[in-house]
Subunit: 205 residues, 4 copies
DNA sequence: CATGAATGAGGATTCATTCAT
DNA sequence: GATGAATGAATCCTCATTCAT
């Protein structure tokens, strides 16, 4: 009994420490990129010694893996908060402008890109990223499928996965490119996005 | 006369050497990533000494810049070969499946991503990438604007730039994610893409 | 208490390590020159890894800076031990023959020269060297000014700085050139030096 | 006959080429220092190819040797132009202010220092520098010895060499340190220099 | 003679990882 | 558990020198 309790305590501590590392690593990766963020920087951001990190993560790559895993939760939450299709484009634009409350926890697009790039080399990361994509798409799909009464879109099961993918392309593509395209008119952008979402979400005629 | 000829020869050699470096660098970057590909690796891939690369490029970053610049030509060619909107989705799918002839010269999406990630840190690369994006969007925009008789889409000038951006998001988003989503049905994907392109390209009613 | 003590220990270690590096660097610089002495050589002379040096000094230049700074103390000590003007020329000759106890800590003239040469290129080193010169001249000046009863020379304030400079030119010039002039007669040299010092130190008539 | 003449021509060409290299090298060394001046820079300053330099000098060190040798002539000239002791301090101050016509051909003090530093390592350079010093001192000595009627100082043979050394220390020491001591008053400096020169040059009482 | 492209060893510096305390 | 000093391999880049043309 006593032992069990102390093990539980120990386990809790381990989880807490891991999270401390992950939070610090994410902050560093976002700010400086995966390669530019050194273990020393991460350690000092997490206010621990470099050596201690290795008690919780085998190496730097393992940290990335854990971060991807963590993002699953964040992304799921975001999607679950989607309500009716009506305010979808507003939500997307808020996301582009980083007005969403979850954004502080979520990885930035540059980091996502760097991870994607890394994935083409490291199979473990590729696998983690694939699982991430699958989950996000399936959550998005669920929302498309869900009845309109339940805050969903009421699309037939048939091609929901494919529509979810398109939706993702639009959202993440805009997130990546919008900051590089300051000359574009947000209102026109939104009007066209509305047309596309209409096409995408109202289903086949 | 003699001098002129020899100068031409020298210039040709320089161009050839630069291309040798660029080809080797592109191969290494694609295979191993920007950071993991060392100058030594690039040099040995190009079958030259490390020092020689610096005769043609000031530093490693300059190689990335040159690669981006080179992509402008490839991307432009690809867009110029766009004909009527009818076969657009076919062209896109050929591009996803890498059946296009230009693909061997074109950078892979992972490399594009890594460059994008690098751009958030290096202002020179950011600028080059911005120019790349602007050019591609403007070429796409030209095509959207051009008369249907000329193999274009005949869209009014008004929001062509914004539509071009959306088009880009869809194409590049699919190029990135499709390989990670083997379970999706290409025919359904194409049907939905057709609907979206129809919305995007047929213009406001 | 415990913490305080351990902090003191840490600080002591840092100082000790820095001194280890400085001693090794000084030896290497003297033996091989600033440029020819590689960080690897310095490291192995100090019996540490190259990387460790960078924990204590930002870069190679910082080592030179620290060496100059260190010389301030040595030079000051040497000047403070100056007593009456009578035995000045003896002290100088002892210095030329390296019979002074501080000499093991003091930089050699070649190193001083190389540092001087480096100063014409690196502004930081120039500044450090200027401070060094100013301090040495001002200490020498203090001695010239101090009353004869206090072991000084009792010169009027008026042109003490200029006299100190001349004194320095003679001392360091001899230190540099004497070893290259073995044919010269030390006794005659000393006699003339005495005359010059007399002129310099007894002040305006 | 013909052959002799062409050999003479060839020899002249070789000398001309060597001088071209030396002039370029000296300019580069003065501006950037011995180590920072690359053979490529020297070559392009001399408007020849790097490879060609090696036809005339075995390596970079040989260039330094030749420069020292060359300085003998310049220094000799300068000393020979010394007239009576009266205007000596004026000449020295002109030299400090670089108003002398020979200065463009003469090596700068930083370069002299760097060479001196190098001399403590490279015996060939040490030997060349020693010869340089001996020559300069002996020329200065000749001047001190020469009769006052001949524009000399009329000192007795006895300790002329030692006096010449002291003179050199003062001149070169000032040349080195004056630029680092802007706060000093040139008039006072000159007054004291005059006193010292008086002591040095008027001989034993 | 002359070129300048090519070499490759060697330079300073960084950083993931380990391990004595 | 926790530290952070220490390691040393690896990185980018430079440059004296050579040699095919």
């Amino acid at each position: 009994m006593k032992k069990e309790k102390s093990e539980t305590k120990a386990a809790a501590r381990i989880r807490a420490q891991k999270e401390r590392v992950l939070a610090a690593a994410q902050a560093c990766f976002v700010e400086r990129g995966f390669h530019a963020a050194s273990m020393a920087t991460i350690a000092s951001t997490a206010r621990m010694s470099p050596g201690l990190i290795y008690r919780y993560f085998e190496n730097k790559n393992a940290i990335i893996l854990a971060i991807i895993e963590q993002q699953l939760t964040v992304a799921r939450q975001r999607i679950r908060q989607l309500q009716s299709a009506e305010n979808l484009s507003k939500r997307i634009f808020d996301y582009l402008d980083e007005k969403e409350p979850e954004d502080e926890k979520s990885i930035s697009i540059p980091l996502y890109l760097e991870i994607s790039a890394q994935a083409t080399r490291d199979p473990q990361i590729a696998e983690a990223l694939r699982r991430y994509d699958v989950t996000v798409r399936s959550e998005l799909g669920d929302w498309l499928r869900r009845g309109r009464g339940d805050g969903g879109c009421g699309l037939p099961d048939d091609d929901v996965a494919e529509r979810a993918l398109m939706l993702l392309c639009l959202i993440e593509g805009l997130k990546l490119r919008a900051p590089r395209s300051p000359a574009l008119d947000p209102r026109k952008l939104r009007k066209i996005l509305d047309e596309l979402l209409e096409t995408l979400v109202s289903g086949p005629v």
